[in-house]
Symmetry: C2
Subunit: 299 residues, 2 copies
């Protein structure tokens, strides 16, 4: 039996590094466990916030196997498996599927620019058909600001028609509400995840499945409360409470900012380590971010 489509709050888990930039797996597992304990429905590991494209192929395999080996249920994992080449995307996607992951988040092939929908359709079809595994569930990962390519609504419709049991959802990091609105109205039941809790309430009212937000790495409990209570009388208040942190954090580069919050909260400067070409938040920016969160009682 294939999994039901994912729903709820799936933090895109930040990846901790030691000062030599190797993955600190122990800290990683602890972070994953904490997120689940605080209310995450599952973990969108190996996405952009996870610096997945700064990990090599072997690390991406090892990290996923390590999580499952450490006792975290594979069905709670929604790993990013995108790559620039069909071959590498197939390797990563097949590996995740065979491990029993809930599904995969698939980026478009992000080296080329000005690629047509036909070309992207051929890419995604080739990946899905080469894997040829009925357990495979693909969540398209739309992040044109980073990948430069987009899963357009017309292309999403083609992929759902061609692979109705496989292409089951989409994470949208574009923040383009008109884009997700179109998906909600054209594909009821398609599991769409906006990337911000500040868009979550409005999106849930239109049929969203949940959200996959960077700030869920640090403040998942409030987002979960909103998800649980959005149909109730407290919805607006829960939305306000869940969105306050995001309003502060989004003034900073997301990945370094999330790592700065985790470092400050855990008193662990190693959380600041980040792989080039990304850079850690400067000391001033970090102090100003943490100060703002403390003033609002969010640290």
């Amino acid at each position: 039996m294939p999994f039901e489509r994912a729903r709820g709050i799936w933090p895109p888990v930040a990846t901790p590094f030691r000062s030599d930039l190797s993955i600190d797996f122990e800290r990683y597992v602890a972070h994953c466990r904490k997120l689940l304990a605080e209310g995450a429905h599952g973990l969108a590991v190996l996405g952009t916030t996870s610096e997945a494209n700064s990990l090599d192929l072997e690390e991406r395999h090892e990290l996923l196997e390590g999580l499952v080996g450490s006792g975290i249920a594979a069905e709670k994992l929604l790993p990013g498996t995108g790559a620039a080449s069909i071959g590498d995307a197939v390797l990563l996607t097949r590996h995740a599927t065979e491990l029993g992951a809930r599904g995969v988040l698939l980026l478009p092939p992000f080296y080329y620019k000005a690629v047509s929908d036909d070309g992207l359709f051929a890419f995604a079809s080739e990946v899905i058909e080469r894997i040829g595994d009925e357990r495979l569930q693909v969540y398209l990962y739309n992040f044109p600001q980073m990948s430069a390519l987009s899963w357009s609504p017309a292309l999403v419709a083609r992929l759902i028609t061609a692979f109705p049991d496989t292409v089951v959802g989409l994470k949208d990091s574009s923040g383009d509400v008109a884009y997700t609105d179109r998906l909600f109205s054209e594909h009821p039941g398609f599991a769409v995840f906006p990337s911000s809790e500040s868009l979550l309430l409005a999106a849930l009212r239109k049929g969203a499945a949940g959200c996959i937000s960077a700030t869920a790495n640090t403040h998942v409990a409030g987002i979960r409360r909103l998800y649980d209570g959005w149909r109730g009388p407290e919805a607006e208040a829960l939305h306000e409470a869940a969105s306050r942190v995001r309003t502060v954090v989004q003034a900073y580069p997301f990945i370094p900012a999330i790592k700065a919050i985790l470092a400050a909260r855990e008193g662990e400067p190693d959380w600041l380590n980040i792989r080039p070409p990304l850079e850690r938040l400067g000391a001033d920016a970090s102090a100003s971010l943490i100060g703002a969160l403390k003033r609002m009682g969010a640290m």
Copy 2:
């Protein structure tokens, strides 16, 4: 003894695929041999025109080993070894260096956007230092239209200062003459390769090392004649002759156009095969391209 810096005409070799999209290695070696026989000084394999970022890591390793195994001297190879992650870039670069390649063409890490020069410097430094091999010679690969990131002149200067015996050249695919002019004047002896034969004569007069041009896949002999004769009285005529083909081809998407010309010339439709997300040239465009080349006697 490290190699002398590369000079001359180094075609960015197109990669032939069978209809199932696997690499046709026999055709590939034949194409490489033909290019060398027709005047190429060496081969810039596994670059953008080679669809290197559509090959998986293992294929990139195998292809390079296969070329050397087939008797093509490793010092005639300048493979692209860029990747989004430090780890994969190190694997590819170390492998090429240990095989004895003349050098490597290094893309910036092409997933992230809006990355600072400091971040790119840290990325390149990390790759170079992890390899720690005095045979390593890095040619920076500047192609902002594709990688979205650029090796800025200030960053190039920092890298040359930090690694004077390792960072020895640059391929510029931006076509930005002011950019290469700045490199020529600031770094005499730095091996700069523009990506078009139509820029070659002017660039050689300013100190360019040669060129790495997609159209050298199909018309290398004329480009070689220009390179050999640019100091002589025929320079302008050789420039005109070498540049005519480019003028026609550049109206089409480069990679599919190069493959269409190779398919027509060899009467081998398999040359049209291209990996998604790229698409082959349509029949009409292909007929119009080949017709134009025939009318000018270039087919």
